[in-house]
């Protein structure tokens, strides 16, 4: 037989009574357990589909954002390329930028590439 711990013997009766009242644990019927578990399983069985729906809801905006980012990086529609080509910082890209690049001892290939963009008929339209 298990002998009670010595310190429990020293606890006051009042405290022991309060502790006993506080201990409200009750034995659960196994059938109740099963019902609760079955309910929980039914509830969570529907979760993955909802989660998939949530993912689908976000998939389109995320794909659109990714496509926009790629388009910006590849096509540079907001003048990012032109800003990079503005070597002399004049606010416009013309042959003076290629000239400035050539004067800065840049390699001929870079200078020629910039000049080619400047005279390209597909890249810019004038206001003539």
């Amino acid at each position: 037989m298990h002998e009670p711990e010595p310190q429990f013997e020293e606890l006051p009766d009042l405290l022991v009574a309060r502790l006993q009242r506080a201990d409200r644990s009750q034995a659960i019927d196994p059938r109740t357990d099963r019902v609760v578990i079955d309910d929980a399983r039914r509830y969570f069985a529907s979760r993955p589909r909802r989660a998939r729906l949530a993912v689908m809801r976000w998939a389109l905006p995320l794909a659109a954002a990714a496509a926009l980012l790629i388009a910006v990086l590849v096509l540079r529609p907001f003048g990012l390329q032109r800003a990079a080509d503005d070597v002399d910082g004049s606010g416009r890209v013309d042959i003076l930028d290629a000239f400035a690049l050539a004067r800065s001892q840049a390699d001929q290939e870079s200078v020629d590439a910039l000049a080619a963009r400047i005279v390209s008929l597909g890249a810019q339209r004038s206001d003539l």
Partner: protein
Amino acid sequence: MRSRSLAVVIVAIAALAASFGLLAQQQAAARFAVVDVYVDSTAPLAAWQFELRERHGEMQVVGVENGDSRAYTQAPYYDRAVVDRGAADRIIVASFSLRPAAELPVGRARVATVHVRLTGSAAPDFQLQLVAAGAADGRPIDAKITLDTRTGR
């Protein structure tokens, strides 16, 4: 039946004759011209860029060649791919020289010659714009741009 066949043949011959006439007219209207472009600057001209077009769009640029100045040894920059395709109804031409200011052209200098094919029957109305002109130190300078036309081949 025979008269119907005869009518078809007559119409076909007339259409053929009309198309030959139209073709001959177009060939007669198409001609070549040479456009000499000059930049006039009081400061030594180290860089320049111009755009040339024809108001009615009846121009096809077929070639671009360098000007007179020995400071500009390289052929000017222009969109060769579009010119080679025969699709240049306007042209942007530019060049620069890294030579010292003393060797750069001052005053009126022919910077380029543009060879064009004109398709319209009316006299061409060229529009020429000086996009940029720069001094040897890279700063923009004021300059005037003009053109002279000659009859081509």
